[in-house]
């Protein structure tokens, strides 16, 4: 992480257009009350204590309601009683029940990333977690329980490594989910000095934790799914092994270039980010620079943390947002086809915000007006700095840019409800509709605090459409599929991702705001290469599409009956 001293560009005049999404933090009343333990409560002496972890929305029991999976850290001086990764089952009334123990998921370690996908194509979503130490694969047994199958799967590493980003990806189009893991750096508590020991580790003259600059980056890994519950390390063979190239964090896998094959993009901290371009023969070549995704428009590397993939300008191609350190802008990359991506941060109006260290992010249509908005969470990594520099507080608010159309955004402060201004040291974020009421809610990991669950209550008459994909020849989770919705003169692409935001997992159901449109045409680009035109579907419904068979189910959604209402 590093500040580049970038000063914000001026905000334009407020548009005055009402924003119809309103967020309220309902985590406590929903039962998400356990704090996410991550290092000491008031210090971050080592970089491992400052990075936090991801969070996930997923439906582990296939009941049509989003459950919540929250990763956990620990503390250097020993385990904390009661701290664990947690699985919360959705009670379908706006509340959740902690089922961690029953599910067999109790574990306390330095967890960082999570990716969810049905790696054995048995119809149930499995969980893979990265950690500093040992990564873990949990197979979903289909009965509400999970089994740690890391060793049997061949995914145990011989020594401690710092896994961060992870994403399921069918890179060879064999219908089975392979696994990509990024690593941050080589770390141990013995060889890296804590805050105050190394005078070179300072921020604005104040001693802070060391890294990542000056520490040793670690390469990414790729594991091929053998189809029998085991994986083979194909890092070298597939061209993923690039030693010393980047401090890898969030990883996304998607068909970013419209080739029908999955590419992998890794946000790298303080080093150029990596784009592994799929060569369609089981190998990749790193082409971040050539495709415009390695650095910002000035050719400078940034402190890449979080990634969002979406189509902000509704031209039918996937764009990318990357978040960075304070005193720097986020980077919004517009997909320009063969030439790759163009950094349009300043032109889009996002350079107005540079105050916060920024993490989990999403390109999501929160007010269902048909134009995807941008959201990210923030939080410092140096709690000691605010004592001398109040302009660098440890806990900071959420950032929301509403899409004005014409590839322009404006930052909103009060217009989206009180939850936007609440301050936390946040990291991971997941986006999804936990109460099935037709809008996007937000789940946030806060360091040493309970998560936030921002319930979105959209007003107005805008329409929406949800799309759930089931792969047949492709992997069953349809990870890597792209859906293009055409509505009201717009054409919006969305991808089914197994990780994005910051080390987190979103609702697998794709949510399209449609504005005034009551109909949308859908086209699905399946991970195995099939392009399937679905035709016109009615708004305000969840449609389930089975690969090669069109719409399997179309249903109006029954929102959660809120407890006490």
């Amino acid at each position: 992480m590093a500040s580049r001293g970038v000063r914000p560009q001026p905000r334009g005049k407020p548009s005055g257009i009402p924003f119809n999404a309103r967020f309220t933090d309902v985590a406590a009343e929903a039962g998400l009350r356990a704090p996410v333990i991550y290092g000491p409560p008031d210090r971050m002496d080592y970089i491992v204590e400052s990075m936090g972890c991801g969070i996930a929305f997923f439906d582990y029991d296939n009941d049509g309601w989003l459950d919540v999976f929250v990763l956990s850290g620990t503390r250097r001086d020993g385990p904390v009683a009661g701290a664990s990764n947690r699985l919360y089952k959705n009670n379908r009334d706006g509340t959740f029940t902690d089922v961690t123990r029953q599910a067999g998921l109790t574990r306390q370690a330095w967890a960082f990333g999570v990716t969810i996908g049905d790696y054995n194509n048995d119809g149930f979503e499995d969980i893979f977690i990265t950690e500093w130490g040992q990564n873990v694969l949990y197979r979903n047994n289909g009965d509400g329980t999970f089994t740690d199958v890391t060793k049997e799967a061949g995914l145990a590493s011989p020594g401690a490594r710092w896994g961060t980003g992870c994403t399921w990806v069918d890179y060879d189009r064999d219908g089975r989910l392979d696994l990509f893991v990024s690593h941050y750096l080589v770390f141990d508590f013995q060889s890296i000095p804590p805050t105050g020991r190394d005078p070179d580790c300072n921020f604005k003259g104040i001693p802070v934790n060391c890294g990542p600059r000056g520490l040793k980056p670690e390469r990414c890994s790729l594991y091929r799914n053998n189809g029998d519950g085991t994986f083979t390390d194909t890092t070298e063979k597939a061209g993923i092994a690039l030693p010393g190239r980047g401090f890898g964090l969030t990883a996304v896998a998607a068909d970013l270039q419209g080739s029908g094959w999955q590419d992998i993009y890794v946000a790298c901290d303080s080093t150029p980010s990596l784009l592994f371009h799929n060569q369609q023969n089981g190998t990749f070549v790193e082409r971040g620079l050539e495709l415009g995704l390695a650095v910002n428009e000035d050719g400078n590397e940034q402190a890449g943390m979080g990634l969002a993939v979406g189509d902000f300008n509704t031209d039918g191609a996937l764009d990318i947002l990357k978040t960075h350190f304070a005193e720097d802008t986020a980077a919004l990359y517009r997909n320009v086809g063969a030439a790759g991506f163009e950094d349009v941060t300043t032109v889009a109006g996002l350079a107005a915000e540079t105050r916060y260290v920024s993490w989990g992010a999403g390109i999501q249509d929160f007010d269902n007006d048909g134009l995807p908005d941008i959201f990210w969470v923030t939080g410092s990594v140096f709690p000691e700095v605010e004592k001398l520099h109040p302009s660098f507080p440890h806990k900071t608010p959420r950032v929301l840019f509403r899409n004005l159309g014409g590839s322009r955004f404006e930052e909103l402060f009060d217009a989206a409800g009180p939850a936007m201004a609440e301050v936390h040291a946040s990291r991971g974020v997941a986006f999804g509709d936990f109460d099935n009421d037709g809008d996007i809610d937000i789940l946030i990991m806060n360091i040493n605090e309970p998560p936030s669950l921002l319930r979105n209550d959209v007003s107005g008459n805008n329409h929406w459409l949800k799309v759930r994909l089931i792969g047949v020849k492709s992997n069953r989770s349809a990870i890597g599929a792209t859906v293009i919705a055409t509505y009201g003169g717009r054409k919006q692409a969305q991808a089914v991702l197994a990780q994005s935001s910051y080390l987190s997992v979103n609702d697998r159901r794709l949510h399209f705001g449609l504005g005034a449109a009551k109909l949308a045409d859908l086209e699905v680009h399946w991970p195995n290469g099939l392009r399937e035109s679905i035709g016109t579907v009615a708004a305000d419904r969840l449609v389930t599409i089975r690969e090669g068979q069109g719409i399997a189910r179309s249903e109006a959604m029954e929102p959660a009956a809120r407890r006490g209402h």
């Binding site: 560009q9 620079l289 415009g292 050719g299 320009v336 063969a338």
Partner: protein, 358 residues
């Protein structure tokens, strides 16, 4: 570089005090014009240290005392620009237009503001006339970006090619040009520029490492050994690197070693204030006062508001017994820092000596 100059310049303040043997005396209350000069001097120093917010406050005080000072207003506008206070910067630049007309400096900054506001046609209009200006070498780069923003890919590439030729070590220019070539489908040209970009970035990292190594060697090893390490920095065709090397030697007190790289830098880039100032400083410290005079006069001409240069030049002229030349220089220094007791005392002595002569 500003920090280096300040540090070295500070030593010279002491030298000046020793040379003239002055004692402290109270300063007289400054006039409004003097106040403006003082605040503008402070602001310039703060700008060099990249303390833009503090510099802005000093400029505001300078302008409150002397609102008609166009030079100070221009600097204030550039200070606002550096802070990203674009609307205010534009207002200040625009306010100068009636008096300065379409001066290159004004057009350059207004063009860059147009670029930041995504008003690409306006940016092209303003920057087009500056494309080949030797005084504003980055104009071609920003004009290229303006052309690209307005969709004129071919013109954008032409300007960026010009910028790359002018600034062959600028990674940013190579990256933008590579992206433009990619967009134009010129893959081979793009690859070449990406290579140049990578090389420039690698050079930058190597330079950082070399500077660290040189600094450590100069403070811990024999000079002959240190020279072998520091020699890696001194590219004979790159004035910035030569200045950097000279400053490293100077900072370590190795003024004899500093002279040659600084002399080469000044020859390659005659408008480099840092080269001339540090050359003058090094020669002064070597008691080669005759030789120090011309570089310091050149530095003072390039940056007339920089206190340390004036102070050093005054000391040089004093040692050379050219009191008549030293007096106005020291007066300018005093105007910049009227509270500086040593300069005030030195000035009193020179004035008294001048009176006696008369």
């Amino acid at each position: 570089m500003g920090i280096q100059i300040d540090r070295l310049g500070y030593l010279l303040l002491c030298s000046l005090g020793l040379v003239i043997g002055a004692g402290a005396q109270p300063a007289e209350p400054p006039s409004m014009e003097r106040q403006a000069t003082v605040h503008a001097g402070n602001a310039s120093r703060l700008m060099q240290d990249r303390l833009f917010s503090e510099a802005g406050a000093e400029f505001e005080q300078a302008l409150a005392a002397d609102p008609a000072n166009d030079a100070v207003r221009f600097q204030y506008a550039t200070c606002l620009f550096a802070q990203g206070r674009n609307a205010e910067a534009r207002e200040q630049f625009e306010s100068l237009k009636p008096r300065l007309g379409e001066s290159p400096g004004l057009e350059y900054y207004l063009g860059r503001l147009d670029l930041l506001a995504s008003d690409f046609p306006a940016a092209v209009r303003r920057l087009r006339s500056l494309e080949s200006s030797p005084d504003l070498p980055q104009s071609a780069f920003y004009l290229g970006l303006a052309y690209l923003g307005s969709g004129s890919l071919a013109e954008g590439i032409r300007c960026l090619e010009k910028a790359a030729a002018r600034s062959p070590h600028d990674a940013q220019v190579h990256y933008r040009l590579a992206r433009a070539y990619s967009e134009a489908g010129r893959a081979a040209d793009a690859d070449k520029e990406y290579r140049e970009y990578r090389q420039s970035r690698a050079d930058l990292r190597t330079t950082e490492t070399d500077v660290r190594a040189c600094n450590e060697a100069l403070h811990g090893r024999a000079i002959a050994e240190a020279k072998a390490i520091c020699g890696r920095i001194g590219d004979p065709n790159d004035p910035e690197r030569l200045v950097m090397l000279g400053q490293l030697y100077g900072d370590a007190g190795e003024f004899a070693e500093a002279v040659e790289p600084l002399r080469m830098a000044a020859k390659l880039d005659p408008n480099s204030f840092e080269a001339w100032h540090n050359l003058g400083l090094s020669l002064f410290r070597l008691n080669r006062f005759e030789e120090a005079r011309a570089p310091l006069e050149r530095a003072a001409a390039l940056n007339p508001g920089f206190f340390d240069t004036l102070n050093l030049l005054a000391a040089t002229l004093y040692v050379l017994r050219d009191d008549a030349a030293a007096l106005p220089v020291l007066e300018r220094a005093h105007a910049l820092r009227p509270d500086d007791a040593q300069v005030a005392a030195a000035l009193e002595q020179l004035r008294a000596a001048a009176k006696q002569k008369r």
